[in-house]
C-alpha cells in the first residue's frame, strides 16, 4: 500500500471542481486515469464517533448537511465539513467509476479514492457513499439505470 500510495500520491491527479449533472457541484478528471489508480485522498479532521454524533446534531440544527462525515474505523471518523480537500465534493453514484478504500500507512489510516475503471478527461468522479440504512431517506440523484433510489 505504501509503495502504491507514495508512487501514485506524487502523481496527484488533475481534478476540477465544476457544476455537476448529478448534484450542484462535483469533481471532474482533467487527465485520463487508468483503472485502479489513486485519484485523491479523502482528508479531514479525525474525531471520535461520539464527537461526530454531537456534531451531526449541531450540523443538522444549523442546516449544514452531515454528508461529510466518513467512518474510517470503529473509533475514528473523518469530518470534512469545515476542513479538508476537494475529495469532499465527490458526488455519490450507484454505478460509480471509483471506490473508497481504507489503507494504513505508517500506522495512520487513510481513506483513498481509487479509480474502478478507466476515466476520461472531463468525466465526473463518483463513488458509492455506502451510507448506512436510515429511516429518513435521502433521495439519490445519480440517475444511473441501476440507481437504488436512496443514498441511505
Amino acid at each position: 500500500d505504501l509503495l502504491k500510495f507514495n508512487q501514485l500520491k506524487f502523481r496527484k491527479k488533475q481534478l476540477k471542481f465544476a457544476k455537476s449533472g448529478i448534484h450542484d457541484w462535483g469533481l471532474f478528471a482533467q487527465e485520463p486515469i487508468a483503472a485502479d489508480e489513486m485519484v485523491i485522498e479523502y482528508v479531514g479532521q479525525m474525531i471520535r464517533p461520539i464527537v461526530a454524533d454531537v456534531r451531526e446534531a449541531q450540523y443538522e440544527a444549523t442546516g449544514i448537511g452531515s454528508s461529510y462525515l466518513f467512518r474510517i474505523d470503529f473509533d475514528t471518523i473523518i469530518d470534512a465539513t469545515k476542513c479538508g480537500n476537494l475529495a469532499r465534493f465527490i458526488n455519490h453514484s450507484c454505478n460509480p467509476n471509483c471506490y473508497a478504500k481504507i489503507i494504513t500507512i505508517e500506522s495512520q489510516k487513510k481513506i483513498v479514492i481509487y479509480s474502478k475503471q478507466p476515466i476520461g478527461v472531463d468525466e465526473e468522479i463518483t463513488y458509492d457513499y455506502k451510507f448506512p440504512l436510515e429511516d429518513e431517506k435521502i433521495a439519490c440523484l445519480c440517475g444511473a439505470p441501476q440507481c437504488r433510489g436512496f443514498l441511505n
Binding site: R48, P49, I50, V51, D75
Partner: protein
C-alpha cells in the same frame, strides 16, 4: 474494596496496577467503579491527590447505561461534579454548585435511593 473497573471503562483508558488510577489521552471519557448500589443511602469519598495543570475531572454517580465515551453527566444516566469551577452536570447541562476543587481536596458523594427495590 471498591476499585476502578477493568471491564467497565472506555477502552482507550489505561488503568493502573493498583486499579485506583486511570489515564487516557483520547478525549474525555469514563470508567466506573467495581461496585454499585441499588437501594438506600450511600456515600463515597475521594481525596484528590493529583490534578495536573490543564487536566479536569468529573466525579459522581453514574448508572450502568451512562455512555463511557463521554464524561460523567453527559447524558441522563449520570450526575457529576466538575473540578473546574465546581460545576455540577447532568444531561450536559452545567449548574453552579461550589468553587472548583483540586489537589488536597476531599470530596463526598451522597446518593439517597428509595428503600424498596
Amino acid at each position: 474494596g471498591v476499585l476502578l473497573a477493568l471491564h467497565d471503562r472506555a477502552p482507550q483508558l489505561r488503568v493502573a496496577e493498583d486499579r485506583l488510577a486511570a489515564t487516557g489521552d483520547r478525549g474525555y471519557c469514563m470508567l466506573r467503579a467495581t461496585h454499585g448500589v441499588q437501594r438506600g443511602a450511600w456515600y463515597w469519598e475521594a481525596s484528590v491527590e493529583e490534578l495536573p495543570e490543564g487536566a479536569a475531572a468529573r466525579l459522581g454517580w453514574g448508572r450502568r447505561y451512562a455512555n463511557l465515551q463521554a464524561p460523567l453527566g453527559y447524558d441522563k444516566f449520570g450526575y457529576s461534579w466538575r473540578s473546574r469551577k465546581g460545576t455540577r452536570f447532568h444531561e450536559s447541562r452545567g449548574k453552579h454548585y461550589s468553587a472548583g476543587y483540586g489537589e488536597g481536596d476531599t470530596l463526598g458523594f451522597l446518593i439517597v435511593l428509595p428503600a424498596a427495590a
